[in-house]
Symmetry: C2
Subunit: 141 residues, 2 copies
């Protein structure tokens, strides 16, 4: 359970990577560091607009791509829907999507991670990244 806390200083990291920190980028970075959820581009745009009405959706998309390239965020393509993003600072985890509410629950299993590596190795491959999503419903009590 990582306490959201000190809005990771991506600004510094990005700046060092030669990325200009502009107003829209700062706004988007702030939004990403705040919510612990997985918003899509449109939702990020909405939240950003509330802070800076002049921001454009194109810039949101462009920024998400930039941040993804720099490794600052992860892009998720959950079943039937637009890409959803989350900051990359936290440890690796997988997702369980509540099919009724759309809520995303994060979890991690070292055993599953290890098994995946094992399987890939047996097939002669090296994993670069993976996607594990469980889609389910709350168990009736």
């Amino acid at each position: 359970m990582s306490t959201a806390s000190q809005a990771h200083d991506y600004e510094k990291l990005l700046r060092e990577a030669g990325v200009r920190i502009t107003r829209p980028r700062r706004t988007i970075l702030r939004i990403l560091s705040e919510g612990g959820d997985h918003p899509d581009a449109l939702e990020i745009f909405r939240r950003a607009s509330a802070i800076d009405p002049s921001i454009s959706l194109s810039t949101v998309y462009r920024t998400m791509r930039l941040l993804e390239d720099k490794g600052a965020i992860h892009r998720h393509a959950f079943a039937n829907g637009p890409s959803r993003f989350e900051q990359a600072d936290s440890d690796h985890h997988d997702h369980l999507i509540d099919m009724d509410t759309g809520a995303v629950i994060e979890f991690r299993s070292d055993r599953i991670e290890a098994l995946q590596d094992e399987i890939a190795r047996e097939l002669g491959y090296e994993i670069v990244f993976h996607r594990l999503e469980l889609y389910g419903r709350k168990r009736r009590g």
Copy 2:
């Protein structure tokens, strides 16, 4: 290793489900039963056009949706790309995608399956379906 073999008689199953077996549907069914790969709608449309030039892309999309609803095929949304389909007759398996060639390798691990159920249960959920995709590269030998 399922020998492709006897083009599963989806026609009968669908007919019994009250679905009309039309020419385009028969063509698409045939294509799905042939290739053991994971074509997207456009690719299916191309193959279908070679057999019946009058078929339309809309019908391919409509048919894929119908077959998905009837449980005859599975829809996969691999990283950044259109949906890709595969017939549902074979046993459940997950996918390893070769990032260099785009090739899709199928595999199955009962241990991973079991671990997923366990994790979901601990979180108070019941899995309806899941997605596990490994993206990797051939190990330099």
